[in-house]
Subunit: 419 residues, 3 copies
């Protein structure tokens, strides 16, 4: 029997989405390596295990509850109510690919939101409450604001808000949730001195962090282009270009800016500069020109440096810069669509209406993420406690939470030898 | 000239299989990182080089001999005899893709089997005999049992055994071969004390091990869905979902189970829990529901912990848990098909016949892998010796086998400086 | 509306090229890890940041200038002049995919050339001049010789030179540029003793280097097969096989050769042996048989060992072996096409004409890369200086160039603790 052309189209689109989903999932490895590398060795296993919990418990949360709330039949544009455990009515999605393919792509996005927060709360948050938060984030917090933006019936979508691959839905939500989390949690011991000065707590493995950044950049080849959900949509080529150019520009500007400001190119800022470019372009990647992408990325590359300093000044201790990268640059990216979109952006159409919608939309979801995370962390703090003891923080969470250190050197090995 | 639709189908399927083959090949990086991270620093380069030998010598073995034995013209369902060096008659394969595409996908599977064993024999097996074993495993041991299961004329295939992506053909074979290998090789010096207690030999780099686990999970996006050999088979979407949910459930249950049992979530058990879920779902991934996948993964996540303890109790010293993950959970996964398969599994059809076939099939191939590996190792032991000397084991195999240590710290560097 | 079959073809080809581009881009992570692992810890962050600069500044250089020079409207086969900033006339490319898809794939190749050089100049070249070189390499040096070979109007292309995926255009160019660079730059302090003997400066993290090699090998699944620019071209299957077999043979022969020569398998030589096989097959991967690929890879696996020793003898200090791997084995690979190509190679046709063209072509582009890099480095040396001070070299470039060390151990962390 001859294959039908529509079967081929569906096959191609499914192949595309599954391979892109794999790339997005692999970003979890990038986050884990980046975050572990940026923090102290004594807490590095713990942060990796938290990211692992997003992939395990968080993924189950999105399967059991989150997907239904995000993409189920809409209740007035506020949240969905069908598709729990991937069962029940999901026909309204009207997909060109199997719903399972759609789910795995979406699930990889959902767990990224929790993972963004994991970096900000590193080095002092207890493991158990983190697992609970990861579940709540993927099952409820992210899906609800995600419904507003990405469900065809979502109220922000109906307002006309554009967020192609999630500078708002994923990054701003993750970034501002991170701010709420660290405000409830408080800074790491020893980060801010009594005289108000900042004590830089050392990154323990910058090659690992850089490897994480490369993996994240690699994963973005799936994150943004895959969001077309179709390989037939040739705009995937433009998306790949704007995504990469924004990353390139972000890293370049962070290099120049820190050379000028500090006298030396700051490695972690350069890395975060490229990530900031990626985060910022994510919203408009399908709608802006390569040149606009370079400008958006370049601005993000400076903004992230300024934002990191700002959040340090207000003592929002974020060991990996998650609030600056995802919160500040994600929000900027959503707004940038209102400026740079080729048809409706202010700079091209002269019409500020999209800009206003974008600004309003990202403000709403940021507030949502901040408020619900603040509430969740506050309740967790009261009920079971969210912070390890001072002694555990001093000795490191790898030993206190998992009973083992991340590393055992050749020298230590030799000493431990019994025979 | 207009392109024919059947050409497009073949192109799509070839693209799919090649990209999945790349993902499966990349799992070698995952194995290398996982195994190196789980063992001591002084042997970490050696284990990585062994994995590298699987990719080089092992791949040549599968090219020269293995593929012909596995997929050549069948001799009574026992083994194949055409296609050595990728030449000769392979028309009976009746593939929808070029035979070269099929080969590279299969080759990536073959080397994984040898690599599974490399982890179990880490920290004491000599390099030379390992290379020989790697060649024999990819050229003979794996291809023969693989022929039984996956050749269309294989006798187990004809019995009705189902092993979609290889819980039996790859994982049970690799896992039970590992058991045979460590029984001939003996435990590492100092692992078991005279009073019978276990001395935990330290993992030297858990972030590296975790990175390896992420890479393996990422690679499974190719391992299982790619096994359809066609991107037009929309079941790839279900396969991606069941694969991921089983991994998520395995990691989640290992977390809960070790928290309950040891008071703390054991990092290496959690990692192995997710891998156990992946291994267990591999056989039935195309035939079970997402909910069944969660149950299969959850059981594997507990089974792996119990199995690790069991093999330690019988002094089968396996530094990375390969026997538990691949042997125990692979076998369980094959049997699980007989329980959970949507059409013919016991729980859905009430008919135990598939279950009996599955149990019989996995028992046969496990026995085959165990016996042939036991024999190979015994002969190697007699003829050239398989174990490094006590002194080499004490000093570490990186230095004795390769003349160099894996790591050189900032401090050591400074001391070595001549100028 | 029914989708047209030509739309499906274009979609499939675009999906293929974008995913392969992602794999090629990810090779930057491989280079970074390989190079960092092979050098001393004190300079490891610096080398990674240089690779990061290729991805950022270098990519912008290829966007602004390089692509136009390489693929713009040809001026007499010497260089192109349209398409700056991805704008203007590019219709002559006559692509079956969007020009943006073509660009991102090509951009990932361009930055690889600069990155090859980064390894050779590691541990003593200043950061600022490196950024300038990276820009010049991706904007001018590589695009011009690339135009000769790969533009349909290029003069070497018109001569009949074959360089399928770039043993000449990428690897020989990068490799011989590396030789020029190290000749101007001079060897690292302490590498060559006054008595003429070689002082091996220690690799600081061989697991990291090996992980880099695995990533590079994985990336080659995109580098070579993706160069068809079409998933409908079923030759992608053969390309995947010849690529992998050459890598396998290169690693195998380097193992055997160093075991025979040094008594032990040299880990870094084995790794470089596989990379040498990959580099050497890249030119002919689409035109040779699997058996020929094994032979080409095997020769490269020996050649790389001999070449590393040769360049050490002439005091061309190359910490990672880039000249040997990319220069020597890349050149060999181009010539090998003239020997092993199934239709026109000397061994099959008896006609030496292709061989002569190949030898001439690779000589020309190698000379071009050597001369222009020599000139660029000489000017940079005169104008701004290219080498860090002796003191900076002694103390390590991570601290002098970025103000931070790559690593902070558990012990150092504990000492730094203020609370």
């Amino acid at each position: 029997m001859e294959t039908n052309i529509s079967e081929v189209v569906m096959g191609l689109d499914t192949v595309w989405v599954l391979l892109c989903a794999a790339l997005v999932f692999f970003m979890e490895a990038g986050f884990a390596a980046l975050e572990a590398g940026f923090i102290r060795a004594k807490n590095s296993l713990n942060i990796i295990m938290k990211v692992f919990m997003d992939c395990t418990v968080g993924m189950l949360g999105y399967w059991a509850i989150g997907f239904a709330i995000m993409y189920g039949l809409s209740q007035g544009g506020l949240f969905g109510t069908s598709g729990f455990f991937l069962e029940g009515n999901l026909k309204h999605l009207d997909l060109g690919i199997p719903v399972y393919a759609y789910w795995i792509f979406q699930a990889a996005f959902a767990i990224a939101v929790a993972t963004i927060v994991s970096g900000a709360v590193a080095e002092r948050m207890k493991f158990g409450p983190y697992i609970i938060f990861s579940f709540i984030a993927t099952a409820i917090i992210y899906p609800i604001s995600g419904h507003w933006i990405w469900s065809s019936d979502g109220w922000l979508a109906n307002l006309g808000m554009i967020d192609f691959a999630g500078s708002a839905a994923v990054h701003a939500v993750g970034g501002w949730a991170s701010l709420a989390a660290v405000m409830v949690l408080g800074p790491r011991k020893g980060k801010y001195r009594k005289d108000g000065s900042v004590n830089v707590l050392p990154a323990h493995n910058l090659p690992l962090a850089a490897l994480g950044a490369f993996i994240l950049w690699f994963g973005w080849f799936g994150f943004n282009p895959g969001s077309t959900l179709s390989g037939l949509d040739l705009n995937i080529a433009r998306i790949a270009v704007t995504t990469n150019l924004a990353a390139a520009a972000g890293g370049t500007m962070a290099t120049i800016f820190t050379m000028w400001k500090y006298g030396k190119p700051d490695a972690s800022m350069v890395i975060n500069g490229s990530l900031a470019g990626l985060v910022a372009i994510t919203s408009g990647t399908a709608f802006v020109s390569p040149t606009s992408a370079v400008i958006i990325g370049a601005i993000a590359g400076i903004l992230v440096v300024v934002a990191v300093e700002f959040f340090d000044k207000i003592k929002a201790d974020d060991p990996v810069g998650a609030i600056a990268v995802h919160g500040a640059c994600g929000s900027f990216g959503v707004i940038a669509v209102g400026l740079f979109a080729e048809d409706r952006g202010l700079f091209f159409s002269g019409d500020p209406s999209l800009l206003l919608i974008q600004a309003f939309g990202v403000a709403v979801v940021s507030l949502w993420a901040f408020a619900t995370t603040f509430l969740t962390f506050t309740i967790l703090k009261k009920v079971i406690g969210i912070r390890v003891s001072e002694e555990e923080e001093l000795n490191g969470m790898d030993v206190s939470e998992h009973g083992i250190a991340s590393y055992c050197s050749l020298e230590t090995e030799a000493m431990m030898q019994e025979y």
